[in-house]
Symmetry: C2
Subunit: 226 residues, 2 copies
């Protein structure tokens, strides 16, 4: 895996300047000005392959093959394989948090908030199932890299939101008070998001239907209450 050797010349041994190949980049830099539709098309395709094979196991030649072009041609649209992954994940997270913020703006009670968050989460899985699957597999390993630091930020914010809602519900009597809330948080979080590993959009269950069933199990349990 060649690092970013480029940016200046091809074969220049640099005795100094060992790190910081970062000129002041203002925004996400596309490689060239290209049509956003083609870009989104290729990105969706790459996300699909990443989700199926795993990011590291996916070669850029495979993506290009799936798109009906050659590997080098991808670099007209994107400046690296990593930037594709970056854009896939960040756009997903942006939309996710937009949805969550809409839920929070409604200012519901703890239980209704949890319900709305679960429904919203399943909708996001429906819309971004490839990105979610990638996130599931790679987030933990990626969040260490500086470029993907926003993954860790999002995780923290995620925990504050869900755990805070659970705590609020436990104190108001909406949720059981005898539970380890951190354990409960992980339970809720995982049960919702791992659904992306088997969920396929266009199946027989709508996201809302799945969310309803999940919420029923999560809130009331699967056993017959005596």
């Amino acid at each position: 895996m060649p690092k970013n050797v480029s940016a200046t010349q091809t074969n220049q041994k640099n005795p100094q300047n060992p790190k910081n190949p970062n000129p002041p980049k203002s925004q996400k830099d596309r490689a060239v000005s290209a049509s956003p539709e083609r870009r989104a098309e290729l990105l969706a395709l790459a996300a699909e392959v990443f989700a199926a094979q795993g990011y590291n196991a996916t070669t850029v030649r495979r993506i290009a093959d799936e798109a009906g072009m050659l590997a080098g041609s991808l670099y007209y649209h994107f400046d690296s394989k990593e930037s594709m992954l970056d854009e896939i994940l960040s756009t997903f997270l942006d939309e996710l948090w937009a949805g969550y913020d809409a839920v929070l703006a409604a200012d519901l009670g703890p239980r209704a908030t949890i319900e709305a968050l679960v429904v919203e989460s399943f909708r996001e899985i429906d819309r971004h199932h490839a990105a979610v699957a990638i996130y599931q597999k790679e987030a933990q390993h990626l969040s260490g890299l500086p470029r993907f630091g926003y993954l860790a930020d999002s995780q923290k914010r995620f925990e504050r939101l869900w755990l805070g809602t659970l705590e609020r519900g436990a104190s108001t009597g909406a949720f059981r008070a005898d539970l380890d809330l951190r354990l409960t948080y992980r339970f809720v979080r995982d049960t919702v998001w791992v659904a992306a590993s088997w969920y396929r959009p266009g199946g027989q269950h709508s996201p809302e239907e799945i969310a309803r069933q999940y919420l029923s199990m999560l809130l009331d349990g699967i056993a017959v209450q005596s």
Copy 2:
């Protein structure tokens, strides 16, 4: 930083120590006849790295580095990187099914069976947390390869066991009858196994304690029943 400290070869209790040099083994073939302890030691180390970085993202040089030796030296113990992964996953699955079979042999009712399976699962996560994490990330992608066909077999057997128990419980009135059982199966399965992504052995919660809390949420829900 390579760890040069290794190979405490004291306390060698080898009951049989067969002096059989090379009988044609049709089973898993080790590269050379090597001490099983060192082999297991290296395998545990490789599993740890695989779990942390992902299989494809882990280089064989990295594993060797962690073991304090060079990449080629690993091939004295194993004949390929893939065979390390194979052995990690298959030994885990063997032990898992041994545990499940012991549960089944008790011939409990549906609810008690589910409870025992969950407890057993958390014990396996405790014992093989690296292998479980690898399984979680790579199983779906690997089960296509012929060498790892047993992963798909295990998944099918897994589904028959859990789904069958859920169906039994739904018909006997132990579990709610208004649930989509296939959805319930995935719910139960996922909630148990994704715990491997955050669980660390030696933490403050024992596997049995976590299983108890999980079962409480799974069976009775997190909401206060009215």
